[in-house]
């Protein structure tokens, strides 16, 4: 559906995006993840045809964004980082205006506007002035604006910024509902959002793609070393040395200030849990807890952004 080949964007000689290539299949939900200023917004602006890339090409549905911009823009619904709203307009006339310039046939405008208002939960405010709405409602009007023409591709730049937790959940459910039918690209710097809505994640840092994988694939990157949390009721003196003696164990550290809580780090290939349990029972250490810790997405993200190998 979307084919991006080695796009670069320079702003006055300073690269905002460097040689980025990726592709998105139809119906997929792709998450852009990255710290602030990593190039997420610039990449999205290039995809929507708002700014042309300095070099490289973008194809949406087989059409090149520079050669057939009008046709490509027809396929895309876009919610920029700051929702583009005419503050002096009422919600419904604003949506009708956007529907008209997005090329919705005149007769269908009313029905499409009604549907978008309903989908984004705007029914109660449809007759109010946009400038007077709360940030959350403005964000929803921005989202409604992107959905109006039932686009094949939805590009959402930080769609849940400024919303309260229950609104965030509604918007996420809405986005999940698009999967399969629409192709969605969303950017965020909230990691939980990616876990909840996306099938595939792309981590962007300093204008480059730092990692691109499925969620499971990213999680597996953390598995090169395995970590086990251990809690004992009666840890004997020298228990750490004892544990280090188990084959495969690389290190043992105290977990916080709790007496008896340890983190055992081991080679990713070997699972030391069975051996630890056996030893604990043998020595009568009072095994309370033994569980495998997987690296959180957060940790993987930070490792990737810092340039360490995960």
């Amino acid at each position: 559906m979307i084919e991006v080949s080695s796009i670069t964007k320079l702003y006055g000689g300073r690269p905002a995006v460097r040689d980025v290539s990726f592709s998105v299949r139809k119906g997929e939900v792709l998450g852009f993840l990255g710290p602030n200023g990593a190039g997420k917004t610039t990449t999205m602006r290039i995809l929507t045809g708002f700014v042309p890339p300095t070099s490289g090409s973008v194809q949406v549905g087989g059409l090149d964004i520079l050669e057939q911009p009008i046709e490509v823009k027809r396929k895309i619904g876009y919610l920029p980082e700051h929702p583009p709203l005419y503050r002096e307009m009422l919600v419904r006339p604003f949506l009708s205006f956007v529907a008209a310039i997005r090329g919705v046939p005149r007769r269908q405008i009313r029905a499409r506007v009604d549907r978008a208002i309903e989908r984004c939960g705007l029914t109660s405010v449809s007759g109010r002035l946009i400038g007077l709405l709360s940030k959350g409602y403005q964000q929803r009007v921005g989202l409604a604006q992107a959905l109006l023409h039932d686009p094949e591709v939805l590009i959402l730049d930080e769609p849940t910024v400024g919303l309260d937790p229950s609104q965030i959940r509604e918007i996420r459910d809405l986005i999940k509902g698009f999967a399969g039918e629409h192709t969605v690209i969303l950017s965020t710097h909230i990691l939980a959002e990616v876990t909840m809505t996306c099938q595939r994640v792309m981590i962007i840092n300093e204008g480059r793609i730092a990692a691109e994988d499925t969620l499971a694939g990213l999680a597996a990157r953390g598995e090169r070393t395995r970590r086990v949390a251990l809690r004992l009721a009666r840890p004997p003196a020298g228990v750490e040395t004892d544990l280090r003696g188990i084959p495969g164990v690389l290190g043992v550290t105290r977990d916080g200030t709790d007496a008896g809580a340890y983190i055992v780090e081991s080679d990713g290939a070997a699972d030391p849990r069975e051996a630890i349990a056996a030893r604990a029972v043998q020595g009568g250490w009072g095994l309370l807890e033994l569980r495998s810790l997987s690296l959180s997405l957060e940790e993987i993200f930070i490792r990737i952004v810092r340039g360490e190998s995960a």
Binding site: Y11, G12, R45, T48, G49, F50, V51, P52, I70, E71, K73, R74, I76, Y78, P80, H82, P84, L85, Y86, R87, E88, M89, P93, F97, V98, A100, I101, R102, G103, Q145
Partner: protein
């Protein structure tokens, strides 16, 4: 075309939902109305004084004494008000980030520029339309102005206003700041307006200037030093000079073409500016 009209329609609605349109139209009507009323009053005074005298009666012409100065003053008021009409057109769009909406919609930059321009032009037409009541007032009072001359005058004011709008829109495309857009447009219009003031004393010919610039090569090439003067050129470019014939009620297609092509050129430049700013 549909996109252009949709954008123009939104623009007009915005003008009339904000106080801007009412303030601009109100100020325009108050000023032009006062000037119209005072010249009409003076005219009727003169009629009372000299109307009985057949020698003076010939010179008492309502077109010359009331309608012509009215158009002159309208032109001058436009000079000051049109920058306020155009200042927000493209500058506000950029500042609020709504340009990101417009330029990711399937519309071309030419459609956007034209739509914005038509929105402003509609406001201008409304403003002028209300003043059509002035000549009607004169007719109601029993005197008979030459309507054809008045219509030519209106056409002139409209064309001049449209070219002002073009300049204003161009300046608005260059900045995000509405105040800068207004001041810039006012400066540019005033410059184009007063260009002809020095025309009478600028008697140096264009050929002489070219000769100086080319270090004498021009004359050596036998191209001559006569011909049009710098003053002629300034007169041609001045937005005011082309208006004078309309005021007198003389319809000259040359002036019509000047205003139309001037406007077209301003819109063309605006479209180029809008397009080129995306590439930075």
């Amino acid at each position: 075309m549909r996109n252009t009209l949709t954008i123009a329609g939104r623009e007009i609605r915005t003008y009339f939902t904000s106080p801007l349109a009412y303030v601009v139209i109100g100020v325009f009507l108050a000023l032009s109305g006062y000037i119209f009323w005072s010249s009409l009053w003076r005219f009727s005074e003169l009629c009372l004084q000299f109307g009985a005298n057949p020698m003076y009666r010939q010179q008492l012409n309502v077109n010359d004494m009331v309608i012509r100065p009215m158009f002159g003053s309208m032109g001058f008021i436009f000079l000051m008000l049109i920058p306020l009409v155009t200042m927000r057109l493209l500058a506000e769009e950029k500042k609020n980030g709504t340009s990101e909406l417009l330029f990711t919609c399937p519309v071309t930059s030419a459609e956007v520029v034209l739509g914005k321009y038509l929105g402003g032009a509609m406001l201008l037409v409304v403003m002028l339309g209300v003043t059509l009541s002035y000549p009607l007032l004169i007719m109601g009072s029993g005197s008979s102005p030459d309507l054809k001359q008045a219509l030519v005058g209106y056409l002139g004011v409209l064309l001049m206003g449209l070219s002002f709008l073009g300049v204003g829109l161009l300046i608005s495309s260059l900045t995000e700041n509405q105040i800068v857009a207004a001041v810039g447009a006012f400066g540019a219009l005033l410059m184009l307006w007063v260009l002809s003031w020095v025309a009478d004393s600028a008697t140096v010919t264009l050929a002489t200037i070219l000769d100086r610039v080319s270090l004498g090569l021009w004359e050596r090439a036998g191209l001559g030093l006569g011909g049009a003067t710098l003053g002629d050129l300034l007169n041609r470019v001045s937005l005011l000079e082309h208006f004078q014939d309309f005021r007198k009620g003389v319809l000259d297609s040359g002036h019509v073409i000047f205003y139309l092509s001037f406007t077209f050129f301003a819109l063309f430049l605006t479209q180029r500016v809008v397009e080129s700013r995306r590439w930075r």
